[in-house]
Symmetry: C2
Subunit: 669 residues, 2 copies
């Protein structure tokens, strides 16, 4: 954005003067400490202040091909910088996501980075599933970026149901090679980022066949292109899959195999192995690969929360700058944030960011816990982690996708402009509803855990921590008070009530002679609703615990704001499921009336701090990349400046006038 | 789509064999008679069989500028064909929308048509607001397309609140001219389609000032560009606004005025006038312009229903072709349409199309009624039409937008492909939530009507037909039966209950001393909910009446299907607002259990006919423009064929390898 002399928008200035807390304190809190804030800002400056990383024309004006070529230019520069940081020990596997795909990365390359999967999937899989020897061979090359890898799992015919993948890797003991094939059109790999024209290696997930038997899917390292010429190797059929709703610079590709031979040692064998003679040796615990697979799902929750944070920052600032219509005839037009309907659209989204942020932190800790236990051979926490990762991924991505759209629509027509950055953000976020496990499928996996938990409850067996509430919730009658604890209690009652009812419905079907599988399918609308109810109760209670834990470490002025947001999240969640509250808890019509009043009061309490809360997210203008959301609030100037960059605007008359329009107009005379 | 030899997908074939009704009968019914079907098909063939209208490369691969140039080429061809049809008397003002912007138009130009507003806004405004003399001068030119117009209303700073527009037209009696100006940056026109580089004339809406007084907004015909050179005329600052979420070929533009003078007679003066000496003469009824303004909002409901029809056709067909995962270990993978969760996503959307289709027809008839009454000076039905047009526009566009996204997400990753045609469809549909009146603003207008109606009810004054239920709904206690009549009754109870409660809440505020305006604002969350509840009750009851009316004219086999769909729509609507049902009607937990069972039974009943119902929509493959939704179901072949069209796939190695990637990889060795 070119702003030679920065003048702050007067309305935004006034908003900032109303702030009742220290924004820097909140920034530090969200970063996890002042040192992290400094580090993050340094990292951002290192990338965002580099003029070489900026494209001369906004990429949205480019053709699909030019977009890709520009993306390769920029992503190579980013990788050079990453390597530089690596050498200084300033970057590790957790930062990669942020720089390449997350908050920072998506601001440098709004439409995706064709090299991302190298760090985000290729290297982690080598590390997680390769033997020490294999790691020794590949990791050095991969870290140094003398090879570029991607991760090829999804096929044209199979996504979330990975057991159904069709690509085959058949072992030939004579040559000690695997022969990789795509038996059908649907067996082509389809979707992997960077696969089209960028990566020269891939981890390929294929059905392993040896000595006439299929052992299910396993990972193989396959070279795709010649290192010197980049030409596809023999038997490799490769290309890109075409334009998409978003992420058009990620170079998603397809890949088919026609008798491609690779050495036996290119199967990643940390867990299961194929010996020289073709003998398959199963790992003592097949679940060991499971922890690694969950990694992406776990970090996704934080990623998606960050996108939501971006969107709501843009919408809140714009809503203070934008004035529209009058409330009273003699008064000036109103800042649209003063419409209660606008507050009702945006403020709950601010609190949703906090809720997901704290759930993501918790999930990340639990993941690390479970992973260390796995290394020690303990598997007992795994089902609970799986159940929570599934529903949190599903709920956080779908709520965030609709949250981003709510923010966009709340900005009216200007939200529809590419320069608002809502369209690209939505493109990134809505994709997450599908990849790494389609949301409905994931919710049904959580539901399976919940049905088992209810069975355990009936059989008086032990319940794991996150479903302990099933024991007590239903029996109690919680007297209404305006409190987050009441909300948590009734949300748990709702979840328990739904789980019980669904369990009953399913078992009625089974008793009538319906097979277990069909009964499951026929009850699945309710099963999905169980998983959602369980997840929502979990999120509110998790969010609440984190805020309570902070109580003594933050200033009183900040604590007040944090608690208001928590309450707003709780009340909004409760009001969204009033029907469930009335059905499954003792909630009365009067309680609902009071919840509505509480909601309205909370909106009014948050109103003066709204801009300061989003300011505390400390998102640089380049990270927001939005004409509507910049710190200075010069919305209209920016919209104009961006329009001026359209190549169509470089000439007063487009050639199509002489070519097509004039001949047409004149032909009618 | 190139399909040399068409082989029907076996699963789709089987689906079609299960059909229990005559699909052609349903096609005729939806078209409004067999003759309309024939006419529509002829019109479609006339456009879609013309090879010149097809772009050689899918436009999504082009640069923004190339997209525009291709759009001008194609739109001129379309206009030539439209003129040809006009000469034959085969096209009128109602078809224009369909050909240029609606179902047919959006399939020829998926990303919008820069000439659309000429027929859709420019000509209708000339006709509606021009005097006979003005019509004589302009209409001939406009019909013949020797001038191309657009409609410039929205500004950078003002959208839905048109009273706040800032462009001024100041009358100068000495020269008998208006002087048009954009006093501020925010006064620039912003958004009009075709304004950037295409149109040479515009109807400009500006604040009329004469003899020192401002008379509010009025329409003026302004020439923008020289007819020979297409250069902007002096004082005209014009260009395009840049990329957007969708509709990137519509050439939305900006427009600023610097003392642009136009003759007095270029103010459209059918209603209000400015005389030579500058005297302002007001029309006897200022509401006369109102009917015309509502036109677009009214037709929008049918437009958006048509897009939804397209989306659900694609999703239903794909769901029969796609097989994924197993329900039982020994059985083949399941057609995903056999998952009840998938049926629950898609089948209610089929019924939503029917509901909006019938509401649109009704609204169109009422609009025509009211318009003829207006011509006769009768205004009494206008508020009711306005209230219904507002909420139907809001609910139909927002339900359709989320419906299109549900369809897309139900198709998993492939739905994210541009070639699925979901992204462009969503781009068109979600825009409708904002233009022609932002949805929340519109719902609040309906709410204003409802508050007044409740006041009338209290004061025992007469109630208009669509709010008659306010009198009786609350008092009654409807015994549950599985029937659409019960659903309508309780939905009306819900609406009446909410309206009463909201009226009370607002008046409590006023009694406490809050100003009427602030009380309105503070109650607005509930006001929006009132409008929505009223609208939903109306839609179900309208839909029901239409199906009941058809009863004797359609075959029994079709009637059964139509009633199933009606019931599904009713039950889905009821289940979505369970909380309201429990709060405002006598609905019990047992009733809810039964509604859930009814829902599940209806899904099962509709299942065998699902494909045949969408087949009856009779959408040509070119209209669907989707790799996933074509009639033959060759989904995977089409995905591949479309990917092959990517310019990136014409060469095995992209030049960025030599330019950027190789130097980077090698530098690390």
């Amino acid at each position: 954005m070119e702003n030679k002399k920065i003048t702050l928008n007067a309305d935004l200035l006034k908003e900032r003067q109303k702030c009742t807390f220290n924004t820097l304190e909140l920034t530090h809190l969200l970063d996890g400490g002042p040192e992290n804030t400094i580090e993050r800002r340094e990292r951002e400056a290192f990338f965002l202040d580099d003029p070489e990383l900026k494209s001369s024309v906004p990429t949205e004006y480019l053709s699909h091909k030019d977009k890709y070529e520009e993306a390769v230019r920029v992503s190579c520069l980013i990788f050079r910088k990453v390597l530089h940081l690596q050498e200084q020990g300033k970057v590790g596997i957790t930062n990669f996501r942020e720089i390449l795909g997350g908050e920072l990365g998506s601001s440098i390359m709004k439409d995706g980075n064709p090299l991302t999967l190298h760090y985000v999937m290729f290297i982690p899989t080598l590390m997680g599933q390769g033997t020490y020897e294999q790691q020794a061979e590949w990791i050095q090359k991969a870290w140094k970026c003398t090879m570029i890898g991607t991760y090829a799992q999804t096929e044209l015919g199979h996504g979330t149901f990975i057991r159904g993948l069709e690509t085959t890797a058949t072992y030939d003991p004579e040559t000690e090679e695997f022969i990789i094939n795509s038996p059908m059109l649907t067996s082509y790999k389809w979707w992997p980022g960077g696969l089209g024209h960028t990566a020269n290696y891939a981890i390929v997930v294929a059905q392993l066949n040896t000595l006439g038997k299929c052992y299910g899917i396993h990972p193989f390292v396959v070279q795709l292109r010649d290192e010197e010429t980049h030409l596809p190797l023999p038997g490799i059929k490769i290309g890109e899959i075409g334009c998409k709703l978003g992420m058009n610079s990620t170079n998603n590709g397809y890949l088919g195999f026609d008798n491609v031979r690779i050495p036996r040692k290119q199967m990643l064998m940390k867990n299961n192995k194929v010996l020289k003679d073709g003998t398959y040796v199963e790992s003592p615990s097949s679940k060991l690969t499971y922890g690694t697979m969950m990694f992406v799902r776990v970090v996704l929750v934080q990623d998606v929360a960050n996108y939501l944070k971006k969107a709501v920052t843009i919408a809140v600032r714009y809503s203070c700058v934008r004035r529209q219509s009058q409330l009273k005839p003699d008064e000036p037009e109103v800042q649209i944030i003063d419409y209660i309907t606008q507050q009702h659209k945006l403020f709950p989204i601010i609190s949703t960011y906090f809720a997901f942020h704290y759930c993501a932190t918790w999930l990340w800790d639990m993941y690390n816990n479970v992973n260390s236990e796995l290394e020690a051979g303990q598997l007992n926490q795994l089902p609970e982690l799986h159940a929570l990762a599934c529903c949190l991924k599903a709920i956080s991505t779908s709520d965030s996708a609709s949250g981003v759209e709510t923010c966009r629509l709340a900005c009216g027509g200007h939200g529809y402009m590419t320069s608002s950055n809502f369209p690209a953000t939505y493109g990134l976020v809505t994709a997450m509803c599908t990849y790494e496990g389609e949301n409905t499928v994931l919710l049904l996996q959580t539901a399976r855990f919940l049905m088992k938990a209810w069975q355990n409850k009936i059989e008086k067996l032990q319940l794991t921590p996150t479903v302990l509430y099933l024991k007590t919730a239903k029996a109690s009658n919680f007297v209404y008070t305006r409190s987050i604890n009441w909300i948590i209690a009734v949300l748990q009652q709702v979840a328990a009530g739904k789980i019980e009812l669904t369990w009953n419905h399913m078992n009625e079907r089974i008793k009538k002679g319906v097979s277990v599988e069909d009964a499951w399918n026929h009850t699945s609308i309710e099963l999905v609703a169980c998983a959602e109810a369980h997840c929502r109760a979990f999120v509110v209670s998790r969010y609440c615990s984190e805020i309570m834990r902070l109580k003594d470490t933050v200033s009183e002025s900040l604590r007040i704001v944090l608690v208001q947001l928590l309450h707003l999240y709780g009340v909004s969640t409760a009001i969204k499921c009033l029907g469930d509250l009335l059905r499954f808890s003792g909630t009365t019509a009067d309680n609902i009336d009071d919840l509505q009043k509480w909601l309205e009061e909370l909106l009014a309490l948050i109103r003066p701090n709204a801009v300061s809360i989003v300011d505390s997210f400390d998102l640089r203008d380049e990270v927001l990349s939005s004409t509507l959301g910049a710190y200075d609030g010069n919305v209209y100037e920016r919209l104009f400046a961006e329009a001026a960059k359209s190549p169509l605007n470089t000439e007063p008359v487009n050639k199509s006038f002489q070519q097509h329009l004039k001949p047409f107009l004149k032909s009618q005379l």
